[in-house]
Structure formats: structure tokens, C-alpha cells
Amino acid sequence: MKGKFKSIMAAGLAVAMAMTAACGKDTAPPSQPEVSETVSEANAKTTNAEKTIVKEAKTDGDDANVEMTDVGTPRNETLIVDILNGNSPDPMQMNPYLPGCVALDSGLHQLVFVHLWEINSVKGAQEPALAADMPEDISGGKYTKFRFHIREGVKWSDGVDLTAEDVEFTADMIMNTPEFSYNAYFTSLVKSMKAVDKYTIEIELNNPETRLVDRLGAGYTSSFKVVPKHIWEKEDPKTFKNSDCIGAGPYVLTKRDEQQGNWYLFEKRDDWQNTDVGIKVGEPGPKYMLFKFFGTEEKRVMAAVNNEIDILQDISPESWEILRKKNENFKAWYDEFPYADMDDACARGISFNCEKEPYNNEDVRWALTLATDIKAVSMATFSGMLRVTPISAPPVSVVQDTYQKPMLSWLKEFELKDGYKPFDDTYASSMVEMLKQQGIEGLPSDEEEMVNTFGVGWWKYDVEEAGKLLTDNGFTQKDGKWYLPDGTLWTIVLNAPADFEIESMRLAFAVADSWKKFGIDVQVKQLDSATFWNAESTGDFEAGAYWPACGNTPDMVEGLAGWNQKYYKPTGEIAFNNAGGCRYKNEEISEILDSLESVPPSDPKVIEGATDVYKLLVQGRPFIPMFGTSKFVPVNTTYWQGFQSSTNYFEGPWWWWSQFKYYTPHFQPAE
């Protein structure tokens, strides 16, 4: 028995070792020559290069040092982009008008789909994309009829000309298909869209519209995606999956992970000159673009350290710290603190349902503002790498120059009802001092630079004034705890995202910590995305770490529309938009917004009016704006160069936006 047992153990051990040995051998991708593993000498200079497995392709007995990706493309010809939103339930569903479409930022709207106009986030304005020009009003100043042209020479990836007929067909298809999620919006806006000739479109609207390019152009993306008539006219658009994904972008989809949508491989079109990118900017650099989902943040960082990713999307500051130490070829937006780009288009903070007691009282909302230790919240959320905003506008550079900075004198003089001046313009300098004490290097030194980095200032952390505001409104404090006017313990349930939108998730806990120190019982309620958004939309919340203040252009009329009380919906009904989730009604704001609707975006009245709205929102406090969104979007310079940075930017590091297509000509192989 003893002998037999030893034999079994020995055999088992041998099998295990054989398995391990077998597993160690890399296997060639199906379409590639046989490969074996060596350590890349070329990467030996990086900290982790020793771990990088490089495959040598063996072709007909000739060894050629060609490092391959695991989808069978040469690594030095492939730009690998991290997919932000994970994999897709059905990787074959690429009909952008149906709800189950593959996530657009899996490369689809960046490389394949085309839009009429695209935002330039640096200039803060829409620019022609597939359209050759901006729409011209042909209704004699009524803004109900426009004409524009599309670029000549653009072809679909199957070689067919893209003409005005495709645009007209797309519009008709949307209007005739109520099953499309976009149908309701589009039909409420557009009466007709007709091809006048091969490259000219005339569009008639149901109502006067001064912001047509904002309505039909792309911010993050555009819902109006022109589709090829010669393909779609043969299909039922309600069920058509568009799996071949014929588009007019500079790349074509050549392969994908059909099982779970973990990756999509795009190849540069031979006729890239026949795309809007080719015409407008030039030839895209990489021959291949691989959009790939790596999984959890830990795995994404490991892949980045191993040079398996070139563009990493949206990681935490802690992960960035690890990555920059482990792989020196990775670069962030700034070379030094704060590393992250702070120009993402939304301001994070705390929203209130202004119909629920005691949050229906603006003094209470102000008390909570003054009970927030914003510096501590910034440190706890993103280690201080955040730019504050005292108004309900994101602190995007172009917006900050238009609103926050010009409003500074008003903010300093702003008084609460009791005459208290709550604004603190020393936030930036005190953050610099605090971070210096922590040994952080590369901090801004002159005042303007400090403001550009950390923001114009925020509201004072003054628990005495906060307590006074509450006491004046009947609240009481016993044993360090705050009680509501009816004598019950005050408990705030604060909604927070559960493991998504990490900045807002952390912000919720940091704010809760501040308020707890002040003596309020706060419970952070983490919710999955469907429940989180549903709660805001239906008003089923008291307070939540939402972000209803978005926009990245000086024309903020559209971004502010949700505060117009004509769109008000009571709690229980679906709100107009994120701002509408606050259920805040203010006649003065509504009058200003109504009057701005018919004013063209370039009119100075737009900025004047929006400034007035921001002042009224400061007084009313339906939302406590805190920080802009900081994005850590590191790029890998091992294989590619030409990435944007704070010293070399032409758009913004928004790899998941549709405008990414215009960055592609800037990417060139690293020297």
C-alpha cells in the first residue's frame, strides 16, 4: 500500500510538472507563423521589460524579430487602447440606434462611425467633421431652416461614395422607426432633412433652433450617425445588427472577440484619404488599432506595466503611482503633480432632492456646504489632484476662464442672508502649502498657475456658521449630534456609485466623513448604476454624489436647461435630466434660460445670462458643486509617440470620445 501510494504521488507530481511545462510554451495565434518566447532586449531598459514576453516569428526557417500581439498583429504597428466600459453582452450587435449596441467607445465611434460636427474641447466649439461647413440659416433669421454641405470625396469603407442621399436616408430611417431610442428626440427636433444635390442638405426644424450643431454634432458622441444607404435600405432597421459595420471612418473592423467582446481589432483603410480624417488632418499613424478590455484595475495596471497597453483609460491616483514607478515609459497629462487632466466636462458634488425635508430649505443646504472640509475631501478623494469649482459649472479651463475667474469679485462679496461672506479665495494656495508639507514636488508656485491647477476658490469650512444656520432653522444639537426641528435624530442617506465612477464614489465617503465630524449621522448608500441613476431620475433620494453640472463650451445654455422650471417633474416622475433630478424651481432662472434659448451661441448675452444663472444657483444651492473630473489617462511611449500632454495638446486626452479619430494621424512609431 505504501509503495503504491508513493507511485501515485510520483505520477501525479510528474503530470503536474508536465502540465506546467506545457503551459509555459506560448502558442501562435491561429493566423500567424509558429512563435517561441524570448526576452525583449529592446525593452530591457524599462523596469519591467525583463518580464515582457516577446515572440519571435519564424517564417520559413528565417528568424525575424517581430513582436506580435495576441491577436496576431505586429506589436510595433498596433496601438492598443484600453476599453473603458468593459465587454459587451453581444459583440455582434453594432446597430448604434438600438439599445443593445456594443459600447460605442470600444472603437466604434472613434474609428468607424462618422458625425456631422465634432467638438474641439480646447476651443470649446463644434467644428465640421463629415459636414464641410457649419449650418447656414436660410429662414431669414427664424432659425427654422438650415443648409449645410458634406465633404466631397468621402467614401464608405466598401468603396461606395458617401453622399447627401445617405444623410437623407439616415434621417428618414430614424423618423420612420419609432423603435429607435433616438426617434423621439429626433422627430421632436427635425421636420425634414433633404438632399438638395449630391453634397448639399437642407434641414427644416419643428421649432426655432439656434444651436443646431450642438443638437446634431458630437460632444462625447453624437446620436446622429450617418449610415450607408446601400447597406441599410436592404435591412429591417429594427432588427439589423450591423455586424459588418461598414463605416466612413479611417479604420475598418477586421476581427473581434465574438464570444464576449473583450477586444476589437481595427485596420487602417487603404483609402484613408477618402475619410474626413484623411481630408482634414492626414494619414493615421498606426496600421492597427486594438481596443481591448483587460478587466479589473489591478489587471489593467499589470498589463500596462508589461507594455500590453498603449493608452490606459481612467485609473485611480494610487494605480498611477504604481504604474509610473514600474514603467517609466508611461506618461500622464502633466509630468508632475497633479498628473491628471482636469478638463473633463462635468463637475462632481452633492445633489439634493429639494422637495424632501429638510433639504427643501436653502439654509440647510448652505449649512451642509459650510460643514464640508473641502481640502480634506480633495485629499481623501484623489490625493488633492482635483480642481474646485464654487459654481455649478465644471472648472474646465475654457469654462473657468469664461465664468469662474470673471465671477471672482462677485463670489468674494457674496453674502448669506445674515450678512456672512462664505467665499474663501485662498483654497489654491493652502492646497499648495498642505501638499508641500507632504513632500509633494513640482507644485505650482505663482498665483495664476495655482488657480489654474486647483481652481479659483471654494466655500469656507466654518462649522460655527453652519451650526448657526441650522439653529436659526430650529435644528438642535445634543451630545454632538444634530437633531431635526421635530426632535428626531438627523440622518442623511447619501447615494453613491458602487464600484463605478470612482471619483464620485470616494467623494461621497469623504463628504460623509466631514458631515459626521460636524455631528450629522450620515449613511452612504452605494448603488449599482441602474439603481443609482434611477434614484436620481425619479427623485428617490435625499442627497447623492451626482454630477448635474456639465459642459465644455462657453455657451452653457444647453447645460443649464435642466434648471428651467418648465421641465420640472415632481418626485416619483422621471426628471428632464440630471439637473432636473434636484426638483429645484426658480422663476428668475427659468426666465433667463427661456430668453437665452433664441439667442445665438456667439452672442455676448449668452455668457451674461449664464453668469446670472450661476449666481442664482449659488444662492439657492440645489447642488453643491465641488470638483471637476480628474482623469488619469496614461499613455505608453514604448512603441508610440505623438500623444497629447499638457505641453502638446490639440484636443484633450479623451480617448473614449468620438473625436479620438482626429488624434490618430499624430501617433507615430517611437524612435
Partner: protein, 332 residues
Amino acid sequence: MKFLKFLGTRIITFVLVIMIGVTTIFFVPRFMPSDPVENMIGQMISKQSNMTPEAIQLYRESLSDTFGLEGSLGEQYVGFLKKVFVTGDFGPSLAAYPTPVMDMVRRAVPWTLGLMLTSTLISWLLGNFIGLLAGFRKNKWYAKILEGMAVFLYPIPYYVFALALIMIFCYVIPVFPLSMTLDNMAFDWSTISTILKNSILPALSLILVGLGWWVISTKALTTSVVEEDYVYYAKLKGLSQQRIMMRYITPNVALPQITTLALQIGGVFNGALITEILFGYPGLGKLIYTGIVQADYNLIMGTITISIVSITIATFVVDIIYPFLDPRIRNT
């Protein structure tokens, strides 16, 4: 006659359990605080901030109609039962509309079965083997080492353990890929080897973590059986150690373990969510998760119904074969 009566009772229980389970899974998602239509509207208006209330209402009606959510709850329930029991159709997934739920399930099932069945069986066999050794030959060094390893692995949280495996075998000694990359699904050696290579680590993590429980439970059972009179009697009769183990101890230890194994096999249709997420492995766990996170009623109902049916079938099969395995039950 006795057996037929026994079988009849079991069949009635089987049908009842499935009916109750399917009814529950129809109603529970509808009482969740999220709603697929409102969820989609929320996402839409956050991007298209200028939709008028009228446009939102049109959109809501259109989505309800598209997703088959129109009509009263009762009408939806009757429609659902018809679909499930007559056509086996759970409708389109709302998260991957218009892809039918059953297409998605069909795509995921082979992966889940391949991984979960293999790892459950290997874990069961190894765990019982080590547990038997540890209980029967508890003073031997190899029994102590094997038991010690299993007991050491058992309390480690699965997430930490799996992540440690990834760090060791995908990063420090990169013999496995960080994420699963299937280039095509042709039935050839290249595809098979890619699948195997990508499955070894997730399977290993499930086997090693599952092993601990089997070792501990089998050892406890073995220790108890070893003390039984009939084992003493066998020893006194002078039977060999091997014969005592194989004929007297193993069958008595195996019986409850087979029941647990059957239930675990039924449960493989739940998938292994954390494994699938961490290793980028396709399977039912991720489908269930997608269904819940995106309030995809049809996907939740499709995947969970399959899980309910498989667990019920497993229990039913164990009930039926148990009398053949255990004479005590057969005789009562």
C-alpha cells in the same frame, strides 16, 4: 408499487419547485428599485440633455413596447409562462437588444460547463481522496502535509487567492495571458489549445479553493466512520487496510459527499462570477451580473430559470438514485 409512489411524490415536488422558482424570478426583478426603461431613459437624457418631456414620454412608450413590458403584471406573467414552457423563449435581452436571451445563454453554457464541471469534479475527487487519507492515515506525514495545504488554502478569500495566482503566473512568471484572447472559434487544435491555456488558471483557482472544504468534510466523516463498530470488526477479522478503506469506509463516507456533489453540479449553472470577471472568462455568471446591473428582466429570468431547473433536476436525480446507492433508504 412502492417505488412508483416514491417517484410520483418526487415528480410532483419537482414540478412545484420549478413553478415556485420561476414565479419568484418573474416577480422579484419587477420589485427592484431599478427599471430597465427608466434606466435607459436616464442614460439617454444624461447624454441628450435637451429632450422635451413629450419626447421622453414617447421614448418611454417606445421602449416599453420594444421590451415587451406593456400590459399589466398579470398579463406579462401569463405571457412569460407561455414563453418559458411552450416555446422556451425568454425574449430579447434588453442589455443586448435585439439578441435573444437564449442565444446568449447558449453561447455561455459550454464555457460554464467546461470550467465548472471540470473543476468541481477534480476538486471533489482530489478533496475526497486527501480527506480519506487524512482521516484514515492521519499519522502519516504525507497525509498531514496534504491536509495542511488544503486547510491553509480554505480560508483565503477567493478574490485574493485568484488575484495572487494572476500576479504570480501572469505577471511575475508570465506563463499565462493576463486576459483571455480568443482569435476565432474554429474547431481546430489552435483554438482548443488557446482555450485550454486560458482555462487552466481559472480552473486551478476553483479547484484549489474548493479543495479545502472537501478535505475537511471528508476527513471529519472518515474519522467518524473509522470509529464505527463494523470497522473494528473488520480489523479484528484481519482484513487488509486497503480492503477496509475501499469496502467499509469509502462507501459510507462517499454517500453524503455524492449528495453535496450533485447539488454543486446543479449549481454550476450559476456560473462563477468572480472567476469570470478576474480571468476574463466567458460564462453564465457574467450574464446574470449584467442582467442584474442593467435591470435586464429577460436576461435575469432566462439565466436564473436555467439555474433553478438544473438544481431541481440535480436534486431530483439524487433523490431517485439514492435508494439504489443506500440500502437503508431502499428498505424504508
